[in-house]
Symmetry: C2
Subunit: 396 residues, 2 copies
Amino acid sequence: MINEIYKNMLQGKSIIRELSEYAAIRGKEIGYDNVFDFSLGNPSVPCPRNYTDSMMGMLKEEDPMALHGYSPSLGIESVRRAVADSLNRRFAMDYEVKHIFMASGAAGALAHAFRCVTRPGDEILTFAPFFPEYTPYVNLSGARLKVVPADTKKFQINFGALEEMMNEKVMAVLVNTPNNPSGAVYSTETIERLAEFLRGKQTEYGHDIFLISDEPYREIVFEGADAPYVSKFYDNSISCYSYSKSLSLPGERIGYVAVNPRCRDAEILAVMCGQISRGIGHNCPASSVQMAVARVLDETSDLSVYETNMNVLYDALVRLGFEVVRPGGTFYIFPKALEEDAGVFCMKAKKYDLILVPSDNFGVPGYFRMAYCIDTKKVRRSLPVLEKFVKEEYGL
Amino acid sequence: MINEIYKNMLQGKSIIRELSEYAAIRGKEIGYDNVFDFSLGNPSVPCPRNYTDSMMGMLKEEDPMALHGYSPSLGIESVRRAVADSLNRRFAMDYEVKHIFMASGAAGALAHAFRCVTRPGDEILTFAPFFPEYTPYVNLSGARLKVVPADTKKFQINFGALEEMMNEKVMAVLVNTPNNPSGAVYSTETIERLAEFLRGKQTEYGHDIFLISDEPYREIVFEGADAPYVSKFYDNSISCYSYSKSLSLPGERIGYVAVNPRCRDAEILAVMCGQISRGIGHNCPASSVQMAVARVLDETSDLSVYETNMNVLYDALVRLGFEVVRPGGTFYIFPKALEEDAGVFCMKAKKYDLILVPSDNFGVPGYFRMAYCIDTKKVRRSLPVLEKFVKEEYGL
């Protein structure tokens, strides 16, 4: 019998996908160059040349049975070691092979982390604004996602709201910094305060509370941003990483779970991930992709375009009178809409072929997200259109 | 809090993996050439040259952003179309794009199929001997796996036992043909009888019963075997396929779910798979792998070695007095052990550096599995050792 849970999910369409589909259709009418599509968070720079060269080299030289052979269920050992070494080098951590589980991107990593440290019915807290896919990710794992209202001043953490929502059923707290959609990076002060708060609650409740850190944008951090490595500040922590953005390989589905060596049961969490995989049909990233990524681990794509775009866009938005927090990273910006209903605001922008995403799905009303992972020239070309839109619709 | 379900699973070690680890260690002592390792079902022939060439060509010529870009959640449309066309050509089916969901190998495909057509607490029946991973695959989906005792005469289906175990809670029946571990291929007669039986039960119970067909060995079929395409015989059917064996790409994790166009809700099952993915963190196979496989869809590796090995091994086993069903496909053979306890039998064989897998985990006591996806010369070299073992231990 058809499972009604999944059948009913077919009703709910993603607003981001709808907008990006609209942009594609509109692009066919008037030329995609004339559609200012800020809807999708898709990398706009190619992967490093070394990735391509590594893959070609292996295809030429390696035994195809080794290159395409089964990966152990936790990932290829040499790749896990390379990941641990790289993290240790960069963040002065002490990961060992046993703490690393190779996952098919951040979505795969999070699916394992949630199941490791929660049981059905447990709560996971996250902070608005948040990536809307967290809701199905968490809820279909059996846990329940609860969203702490935003600190709209700086898009750090609203600790008052956190305190109110914290309760004994919370077994994990999920953070995403640098943040999609706000572009904010949690400061050392924010992370320290969160860690202290959680340690207190662990003592008070007499059980562990895990901090799950979703870090696909970790490498996209702008000048001057204070971007601490979350796991340094809290023992019971799990980092979930993806190479989608840093290496521009979103379709190759590769990332990892890194279990804090100082967390409870640090010895077994990665092995537990291997068991979880059997239930959810997860398989490691493609073997050849694991091996190629391991060869370019400390590289990134040329990510500078995102900072250039952010500066262009931020300055223009401020000039036009928008209330906006300057992003510390990612390729998103999250200004306040010029009227209460962000949906109406974005609908009006659509008439100018400006494709903006209203904030409601991100857990904050009245804002909009712009994904500026597009060509800088196009960002510049969008500015007069943005100005025209604001002038005509809001008389600014 | 650590999830005890997965923690407790750490106790149970796979006997196959233990034996293969033993073989590797023993290989270091006496040279792996001298260990007759029949433990693992790992392809022993390389992928087709065209796969490598296609991948190299794309790496050279394609835009890296397209090659490594996000795949839609159901798979790349052109790849899904190519899969549908290939199945239609080969099996006179009428699949359309909307019936195909690209999955990360058969494990990924099965995880989706189980969740599509069962709800927690429902039963899925399968037939001994069976791939032991089915137990965690099914049970962790929330459904319950029940195993119908084997037809040990021919390793077709024991219909008497099926009739006894069938009940209203059964929402799906899982078949694996060609079969791991027996090597048997279900005949047209078997499939027709099963289909008729299930149609009768659907009417009797007033609900659908889905037939889930796990087909990673579909391309490894030997001369004279009657190997029908399961979905031709039963409308409510879902094929789960993997390219691991046919293209020797087990580590690249690519396969698909093919929803029978005539099944209930055929229009939405693949889209439901996309929703299921959000919960289990499944992501499509790597984009580049999808595209490369689409270019070699009607090819296979040179699979002839498996039939050669089967013939060598089957003749020797018969000559030595084993009771054994001649495999119609796969790279496994499943003879009866020479004493009641297959574990003891395999333990004795180990002394001769013959690594055989006892049958208990496959749901049949008293047999053993040999995976002959190894070099033919090594299979031949194993025969005098097998003879020595049998003579010395059992006086045959």
